[in-house]
Symmetry: C2
Subunit: 167 residues, 2 copies
């Protein structure tokens, strides 16, 4: 298998499962007469990011990660979503974007330098595989899992199988 096989399908698996989580969260709001904004703005702690931002960041770490690894232009993705439907559309667009990548674009990317921002005025450079191991995957899965935890914490009836995309 290839470096493509070790990256793009892994992101796609979770992006699809997040879309399923959003559908269950939206249905939960309807049944329980909860304003969607309550879940969309939920935080695990006051200085943590809200649910909507967790989904946006998961999308960004997948899309920009693949762009950086393949040397493609970074996609521009303003964070404008204010509803479950719009967040699902963001996920859908991210999935479509990831599906445009071809395995050839990732050939040799595991040992190529990847430069990425570490703050407003700083960057770091790692080999592609290290960038995936230390930056892209941990951030991507972190925001996806925190989004899941936020829904669980608010009583949405989902389980780990939903996170894995096998429910």
């Amino acid at each position: 298998m290839s470096f493509y096989d070790a990256t793009v399908p892994a992101y796609l698996q979770i992006l699809a499962s997040l879309s399923g989580l959003l559908a269950k969260a939206e249905a939960h709001c309807e049944v329980k007469k909860i304003q969607p904004e309550v879940l969309l703005t939920a935080r695990l702690y006051p200085d943590m990011l809200p649910f909507t931002k967790q989904i946006q960041l998961a999308c960004d770490f997948a899309a920009k990660g693949c762009a950086r690894l393949s040397g493609s232009t970074l996609p521009s993705t303003p964070d404008t979503e204010t509803s479950f439907a719009e967040l699902r559309q963001r996920l859908s667009k991210t999935i479509d974007y990831l599906k445009t990548f071809k395995p050839e674009q990732f050939e040799g990317a595991d040992t190529r330098d990847v430069t990425f921002p570490t703050g407003p005025n700083s960057t770091a450079t790692l080999k592609g595989q290290e960038f995936v191991n230390r930056v892209s995957f941990p951030n991507f899965y972190f925001h996806a899992a925190i989004a899941h935890g936020l829904l669980r914490h608010n009583g949405v009836e989902i389980g780990k199988r939903d996170f894995l995309g096998i429910a």
Copy 2:
């Protein structure tokens, strides 16, 4: 790079960062006069697993994942930890175990069949790379991130940099 480079270092990165999180959680308990059990048994929702179990499962998905990929005997790891010190020891043992693997043991493992349990009486089989993408990584990062979210939710002063292991 190799399939080893795409797996073992990724697990090790987060296992080390979890050890750091535990140290900060323990210090937080001391300063705030909180009984460690309060954090160790904390859950994000009544039917979710408590903090201790999230750490144990992160260890297991890393250790058993590497064992399955390399065709090694699965390590036996009874869940006996009841303190931060014991959980740090569990992480430390898991890290030591992962460091015993050699890149050669992972050669060709990406395309080898991996059979793993999916329930008390069921198994599934996937190619090694798919096992990593769909099962081992999502489960591993999920439990690690939920552990982090649990500490944040309980006021421990950590951030995503702690999760990434760069704090």
